[in-house]
Symmetry: C2
Subunit: 287 residues, 2 copies
């Protein structure tokens, strides 16, 4: 199959292409990423490809969403490989701006979402979700998509972006897509490359404990007990350094006052293995 | 002239009309207002009429931009009169949402702009500009204008919106329009109706002192001296309660470290007369 993916690095060039597509009445699907693509990203492209006429992917490692002691500098990058993978997956337009293109001067505007950003990664990574919502809104302004595709691995990010879009009446439909996993269960993440063989092996406890949680939920075990058991499973791994293990309402991410049958919940994990912080989650219903 | 202005109160209805106009290739001009229209607003419509195919005005008294002790409840409203005036001025689409339509649930998303919101009204009215930038971004998402017209009386608002649009790459051009004044010099404002005859008479000192300032600037008087003289002129009015009198760089609204010939500045005033807080300003260059 011959692909004719366009790779553009300026906002202005993207606008021109988007306007042309709009004039032709094409629907636009958007997959914002930080690159170092894996099957998770490609599943988003596939979903966009099925739903939209024009598929736009952005690759931008956004400094705003990294804390001062986080891995912005060493975040894995391989734009040539990404470009090839995006093209093969059916991306029509790949937007790869530099930091200077996105933020020619220090950006003074911040988009903040309250409540859903308070727990989980919002608590562990102050300012992270401000950086996410700000860059996503800017990318939406540039790409003007009809649909935007996000992986559920970053479930809190999905909740934040969905809330922002609703609050600000942004004319885009947020489409959450299922977590994609390695054959052994590890949730796909660009950060998995950081893991040593031993860390990677022990990190399997994340997906394993979530699978257990799903079974316990189906059996009707109380949430507090499930949480405690997961905690024990993970803590038993010597390299695991737990950041959080939480069960919250979904998608509001509010504490659960009282378990109600049919209630949607998220079991959310963030655990460090060595220097690498991994997240994973399960969205399910209380039995 | 027969006008066929449409008045719509739901976001969905506006979207439908905007999409139809877009498909016809029309350019869209937008005049966001809080209603109780005066000649200042109508000058914005005129500017939009000259530049755009479709002119959209919104009338929405936005609770987010009022402080707890401000005049949200008593802010003057007269939608029937406004609708007639808008139609006569050439508005094609008048958007008059309720608070419930704009904020069906408490809005969790806030758009904040740093630096330009720090001095002047930003200092006197905490949270005011967050309310402004949030509602303006939401209105831009709904109306998707090519051009948006704002009065320079709210010069800091113009600076805030311009900064936000640039930072977030919002595809709209902000068009600032000159202050419109009553025959005696008082800057047009919906809040002028609050003034008693005596207050209104003494409030003329605002435009008079700015006119003086323009002359002193042309003569090359130092900014500090101009500021002091204006302060004396205004303080001499018994009903005047000065909130601020400031001379800052424009449009960055930064303090002026050193006066440089050709530098753009703003002389900005906020003064209470009775319960009514009035603002006025002069944008000029250092000689």
């Amino acid at each position: 199959m011959i692909q004719t993916m366009q790779q553009l690095s300026t906002i202005e060039d993207v606008r021109v292409q988007i306007q042309a597509a709009r004039r032709q009445g094409k629907t636009i699907g958007f997959v914002p990423t930080m690159g170092f693509l894996h099957e998770g990203h490609l599943s988003l492209v596939k979903a966009a490809r099925e739903k939209c006429d024009l598929v736009v992917m952005s690759i931008f490692v956004n400094p705003l969403q990294f804390g001062p002691n986080e891995d912005f500098e060493r975040y894995p990058r391989d734009i040539e490989r990404d470009s090839r993978m995006a093209s093969e997956a059916g991306v029509d337009l790949l937007f790869t701006p530099t930091v200077e293109e996105m933020y020619p001067k220090p950006i003074l505007t911040t988009v903040s979402v309250a409540n859903v950003t308070t727990p989980l990664c919002g608590a562990s990574r102050p300012g992270h979700f401000d950086g996410v919502s700000t860059v996503v809104l800017k990318l939406f302004s540039i790409v003007q998509p009809d649909y935007a595709f996000f992986g559920q691995k970053d479930a809190q990010q999905v909740a934040v972006v969905t809330q922002m879009v609703k609050d600000l009446s942004v004319p885009v439909e947020v489409v959450p897509c299922p977590i994609v996993r390695e054959a052994d269960g590890l949730a796909m993440s660009s950060r998995n490359v950081y893991l040593s063989a031993e860390e990677r092996s022990q990190a399997l406890i994340l997906s394993q404990s979530l699978q257990q949680a799903a079974e316990w939920l189906a059996e009707g075990k109380p949430l507090a007990e499930i949480k405690e058991r997961i905690e024990q499973m993970i803590a038993a791994k010597p390299l695991a350094d737990i950041d959080y293990i939480q069960i919250l309402g979904y998608p509001d991410l509010e504490p659960i006052e009282k378990e109600t049958s049919g209630q949607d919940i998220i079991v959310a994990l963030a655990v460090r293995f060595g220097k690498t912080r991994l997240i994973d989650n399960l969205i399910a219903s209380v039995r």
